[in-house]
């Protein structure tokens, strides 16, 4: 349900039917529900089920494979509305974009077999295994290997910060299939394998959860001669790095939209509070010292919103959007953090009380300046690839 506050503003407009429907679904889950999930470090199973059943997480899957065949723009609106409602897309956004690798590079047989099941939610493909303990953004240096042995690949190595493993059936895994010293370019020799977690955990794959600041399910993975059928290779062997990069722009634009949803949530919350909270005989929102940080956060959220739409439009037209997707993420993550700070500050002590939900959203939105990519790496990307400055690392 769209709010009255929004009616007098120009944000959160376009795709009204999607917004109203997602917002209506989210409104069936109370703030107490998300608070309970957060406090128990649980997974919002019922919420994710409802989103899946209503088809929201399969928006990007082509219609012929059981999805809605929508563009990244619409998908980003879905994510924005989830976060704007007070929920956190981090529990399920992997299901929205991880299958992109399969759609773009999978074989017809793989797509026919898996995509309809992912669209219906029968299979969850929510995890992508790329990051390693010793290799963060320097992806080509990953040391996890997949060695072909007959009709199988044998995987050895370790991954870290791999999200939603405990709530996924499948994972997209990046591993080195040709040693680094035997390839012409370091980006070659990496391959993507689809790992069936249901048959792998305990049989060569060990999962160790990482307790962390937010209620985000993330893990260390240990591969000890895990065998994966060779037919689970996605696309061509050795081209996995490029395949992964293709998917990252979608991920960044979607997470930018989540930050924008967070930003508006904080702004709506603090605006309401500042208008109602009376101190020294007048609402605190009458003071410019309170107004300006909120207004500034709103300005920055709106600006990030425009960059998000530009990134999505380019993606949907099949044009390069690396710079825009990264810039959208950086602007949006900064804006939502700014809005979060203003919201917490002007609620005073109440901002720290769990029942206001601000401290939870505050923790959740902070993540996006670190993951899926550190904002410093976005700046170095722009410096090198947009401004053509000398490579810094």
């Amino acid at each position: 349900m769209t709010t009255g506050v929004r009616a007098s503003r120009k944000d959160g407009q376009g795709h009204e039917e999607i917004r109203a429907a997602v917002s209506d679904l989210c409104s069936r889950f109370s703030p107490e529900y998300f608070r309970r999930v957060d406090e128990s470090r649980g997974y919002p199973e019922e919420f994710v089920d409802a989103l899946t059943r209503a088809g929201w997480l399969s928006a990007l899957i082509p219609e012929e494979y059981g999805g809605a065949g929508l563009g990244l723009t619409e998908a980003s609106v879905i994510m924005e509305e989830i976060n704007r409602s007070g929920a956190n897309s981090g529990a399920c956004h992997g299901q929205m974009y991880n299958m992109g690798t399969l759609v773009r590079h999978g074989s017809e047989a793989q797509k026919r077999e898996l995509l309809p099941k992912i669209a219906s939610g029968e299979l969850r493909l929510q995890s992508m295994g790329v990051t390693e303990p010793t290799t963060g953004t320097d992806t080509t240096k990953i040391v996890t290997t997949a060695v072909r042995n007959g009709d199988r690949y044998v995987i050895r190595g370790q991954k870290a910060w791999i999200s939603r493993i405990q709530h996924s059936d499948l994972m997209i895994l990046l591993a080195r299939t040709t040693p680094l010293d035997q390839v012409r370019k370091k980006s070659e020799g990496l391959s993507i394998l689809l790992v069936d977690l249901r048959t792998s955990i305990g049989r060569g794959l060990t999962v160790k959860p990482i307790a962390n600041m937010v209620n985000h399910e993330t893990n260390e993975l240990f591969f000890d001669d895990l065998e994966v059928p060779a037919e689970n290779l996605i696309g061509e062997e050795g081209k996995g790095f490029r395949y992964i990069l293709d998917g990252l722009n979608a991920e960044r634009a979607l997470i930018a939209a989540e930050c924008i949803g967070d930003g508006y949530w904080f702004i709506d919350k603090v605006t309401r509070y500042a208008s109602e909270r009376v101190v020294f005989g007048r609402p605190i929102g009458q003071n410019q010292g309170v107004q300006f940080p909120i207004a500034r956060a709103y300005v920055n959220t709106r600006a990030a919103d425009l960059m998000r739409y530009q990134a999505c439009a380019l993606f949907d037209e099949g044009r390069p959007c690396g710079a825009e997707a990264n810039m959208a993420l950086m602007l949006a993550a900064a804006a939502s953090w700014e809005a979060a700070n203003a919201c917490l500050q002007f609620h005073g002590g109440y901002g720290f009380a769990t029942e206001y939900d601000i401290e939870r959203k505050f923790r959740e939105t902070r993540l996006y300046q670190v993951a899926p990519i550190s904002t410093n790496l976005i700046l170095s990307y722009v410096a090198e690839h947009v401004l053509r400055l000398p490579r810094s690392f």
Binding site: G4, R6, I18, A21, D24, A54
Partner: protein, 253 residues
Amino acid sequence: MNIAVCIKQVPTRDWQPRVNDGGTWIRDRDVTFETNEPDAYALEEALRLKEKHGGSVVACSVGPERVAQVLREALARGADRAIHVEHASVEASDAFVIAGALAAAVRDERFDLVLTGLQSDDQGFAQTGVVLAERLGFAHATIIMEVQIESSTVRVKRELEGGWFQWVAMPLPAVLTIQSGINHLRYATLKGIMAAKKKEIRKVAMPAGLAARQHIVRLYAPQKVKRTELITGSPAEAAKTLVTRLRETARVI
């Protein structure tokens, strides 16, 4: 079972009402609209009856271009098609005009059931359904909490005051005004929204000769007044007086 559901578009509940310059209605420039809540329950009930007995569900609304939004929402939830009676000055119309327009739009379709919400969240007159029944010459019942179809009759459970209910049977076709909470509302699915784009919204003109018989003279927010009364007497007498005041004057206990 062919069912028409009448839906009104009303301002969202969290909108802070502002009165228009003439003081006769709200200033609707900045308003976000949504489906009137009891009408959403009426639609849900119609969809459930269709799932059980077959047939079709047609959503109908009277109003300007913006009401297409609630019709599209109804289509996304599962209505088969929609009828939009185009009417620019809906705010100047009373239940007589709206029911007349709805009656003209649905009369030829020979619906078995016409469902409306019990009342609207904005004006709350609760008249459209019953006037519509009269205009169509259909049987009707109000404040419905359960609907059972038995071949050519319908049995309904009406909500009375004080936690009482009443079962009533009547022949079809009939008009029922549905109470909120009769069922659990489904939410629109993405597939539903996509499918709705291909469904028909038939636009029809307002029938001629309908004039409102009721006019809103003035709309205003109740004025808050503060009054202090000191209750004197012994503690026991004061407590007794306080309880009486709270119960009978303030009506809060």
